[in-house]
Symmetry: C2
């Protein structure tokens, strides 16, 4: 085996925290979506930054691939050890290293999940805002540039990471950023690492921005005759500057999924799920402004969820969209895909994707963080049905091309991973050359998550 | 002359838009601060991206330095052609290429200034929020990672640039980002370019986020017995989550400067200048919450500025801080410096800098975007007074080291430029190696703004 020497050296370093058992390898080869199980050659469980550094030194020396593993909730296969080698399981580096309440910051290890962090913060009156639905690890969220339902108000993970400690391919440990809110000193390596999908370095520590728990939180739902009306309402809301904390669109198929999965009993029409944060008079004013816009847009069935229980139930339902889609697909796998477009083109992009699903005879739900112009389609697929998989591929790539045509991007938050590499050249053109140059400068051996994010070099590129 | 061949080729390309006149060269060698006039060998006035590309191809071929020039308002000498070559004056690329009101975005050329942009946007009900005081060019603001008084609410330039077109060192034109609010596709070259001070590429187009004009804007001022009280008020305000649009601290010396420069008639005590944005009830609620905190912190002399005239007068005064400092220094040059610290350490950092100024017998004003933990000191210096310049150097470097000791950064918004290179290794440690690797990969000849941002390679680094 090509990685045997590296694995032997790692076993010497880590003892029983380096495993090659079939069960552990298969566990680390699993994913939430349609990719086949892809086991690594071995799984390493580092406990300190120094250990991560030592692991990378060994892997660098022996050209052994290293793929970071957080909570395995990535949706484009980012955590799968596609070229074998080591799955670097960060779950034992899951401590909160410090909370600086006065500064609204905290320092955490990457294996901590967002729910663990918020549990830990409960007594402080502060919270970590980024909420992609899954209980993702903070390191994984940073590596894949996660966002989610609250990004429209509090920003994506990109806006909420102030600093990182990163172990580079050869084991060098660097720090980028500080606990200060902003800096103008040098190249922005922090944001270069965020979204690099573990291909430029392994994040071993993060300094995060926190937010004060709002004095008042109110959620609400309403529904519309068609998606166009719902999107018109969203556009008007954003344009009026109402600082929505959440504004989520569910199409009629997604609502049908919730009815199938959780007996939600909702009319099968497009819905908006909303949340307002602030001081009491501020929230009241925001809700009144929104209601006025919603009525003008044809909304009906306005329901406020003022108690914590009602609110939690609403968002728990929303966060089960993946499983509700699966329920609708009668237990098939879900192929989740996402795009992001300028909000003025949102209705067109959604209509196009609904028409494409019909044309391709696919069951698809649509749900989106529409305040950002970002939406997901969840396709029900049987990975063994070659024809259906081909149609799903056509759907996702048509949707991506639609997003690009409308001035958007092929992914707002799921990333590139394995699934969208063939769209990188289309989206980025000559900029791809400079991404490759960074990868080569930072990881000349190509040991960090090989086979992800950057597409293979084409013959034309190789000839240049 | 080493750059004669390149200049001859550029003259052929640009005709009379390439000048070598003494007057034009000296004009482009000026700066707002204490650096001596540093004329380039020639000044080029491109009008299109294609011309910028052609210019860089020529300069790349002949290893001729190229330094971008916007509005010359940078404060660490970023626009000075330190190693000669071409000053690339972007002032003729100053058009608004499009405003997408529905999306709250616009596309502009880099030579446009922020005031020109906001003038252009007036009829749309939208505005561009980043306000560093000077009427800087948008390209220059992006290149130096500018922020300013409104960053506490609307973010720095980093948060307000969605996409860039950049001409790379060899003339290749790339695009990074899109009009979509967010993306998770590939390395974040947009944020790598922002703050790179023209050393990685020349920004030729920017897609910006805009914000809706708030329905209601109210400004106010209050004063405190000492800086500690004022900062305690700021910390409590930020912790309570009051979304301040502006919260600026002026120390007693800065107030004395305003009295000297503009006959402001203010009591010579630390002041806060404030602004609240939002819907009417929201602003009223914010102001009431702030007043309560301010009173608890010992504030007095509360004055609201509700009319547009009063508000404009207040911020015009604030924006003249540089000239007010000069007035206090009786016409001396101003050596402006800035740092940013976690807000919990702000009072300590300011007290330390006031003590340092006294100890070093320097006249210093302090003014800051304190909601971000960012503040400026303006030192009155005579560039011909070797001893005073040495003391000013000691002051700025002591302040920078204080900021680092307190978990902050050596610059929140002025950047590195010429003046702070010797602090890069201290702030960034081993990360500096990776910054150099990017520079080398993107600009192997080192033609882009040589002598800025990255310090010269040390003997130790060279030996490695």
């Amino acid at each position: 085996m090509p990685n045997d020497i590296a694995i032997a050296a790692l076993a010497h370093l880590l003892g029983d925290r380096l495993t090659t058992s079939e069960a552990d390898r298969r566990l680390h080869g699993q994913n939430e979506t349609y990719y086949p199980n892809t086991p690594p050659d071995a799984v390493a469980y580092p406990e300190t930054t120094a250990e991560v550094s030592a692991i990378l030194k060994i892997c660098h020396e022996h050209s052994c691939p290293v793929t970071a593993y957080g909570a395995a909730s990535s949706l484009e296969g980012q955590h799968l050890a596609l070229h074998g080698g080591i799955s670097l399981d960060m779950s034992r580096m899951n401590r909160v290293l410090g909370v600086q309440s006065e500064d609204l910051t905290c320092v955490v290890q990457p294996g901590l999940t967002r729910k663990q962090l918020n549990e830990n913060l409960r007594a402080t009156g502060l919270f970590f805002s980024v909420d992609p639905g899954a209980d993702a690890s903070i390191g994984g969220m940073a590596a894949t540039r996660a966002s989610g339902t609250t990004a429209v108000r509090y920003g994506t993970i990109r806006d909420n990471v102030l600093a990182v400690e990163v172990v580079m391919a050869d084991g060098t440990v660097i720090r980028s950023g500080s606990r200060a809110r902003k800096s103008a000193t040098g190249y922005d390596l922090t944001h270069l690492m965020i979204g690099s999908e573990g291909t430029l370095g392994i994040i071993t520590e993060l300094t995060l921005r926190l937010h004060g728990q709002p004095e008042c939180i109110t959620a609400a739902t309403c529904r519309f005759e068609d998606v166009q009306q719902a999107v018109a309402c969203v556009i008007a809301t954003i344009q009026c500057g109402i600082p929505m904390a959440r504004i989520e669109l569910l199409d009629h198929m997604m609502v049908r999924g919730f009815n199938a999965y959780a007996d939600a009993g909702l009319p099968e029409e497009p819905h908006l799920f909303l949340e307002f944060h602030g001081a009491p008079a501020t929230v009241a004013e925001q809700m009144a402004s929104f209601e006025e816009i919603a009525q003008d847009s044809g909304a009906r069935g306005w329901k406020a969820a003022t108690t914590t229980e009602d609110r939690n139930a609403l968002w728990a339902m929303r966060h089960n969209a993946h499983y509700a889609s699966a329920a609708l697909g009668q237990g098939k796998h879900i192929w989740p895909t996402d795009v992001c477009v300028p909000i003025s083109h949102l209705a067109e992009a959604i209509a196009q994707s609904q028409a494409d699903a019909l044309r391709l005879n696919l069951t698809a739900t649509i749900v989106g963080h529409v305040g950002d112009g970002n939406f997901h389609a969840g396709l029900s697929v049987d990975p063994n049905d070659v024809d259906e998989m081909a149609r799903a591929h056509t759907f996702t790539h048509t949707l991506a091309e639609t997003a690009l045509r409308l001035g958007g991007t092929v992914s707002g938050e799921h990333g590139i991973g394995i699934g969208k590499q063939d769209l990188m050249a289309t989206e980025h053109g000559p900029a791809l050359t400079y991404m490759r140059a960074i990868k080569h400068a930072f990881d000349p051996q190509g040991i960090l998550n090989p086979g992800k994010l950057l597409p293979p070099v084409t013959q034309q590129e190789a000839a240049e």
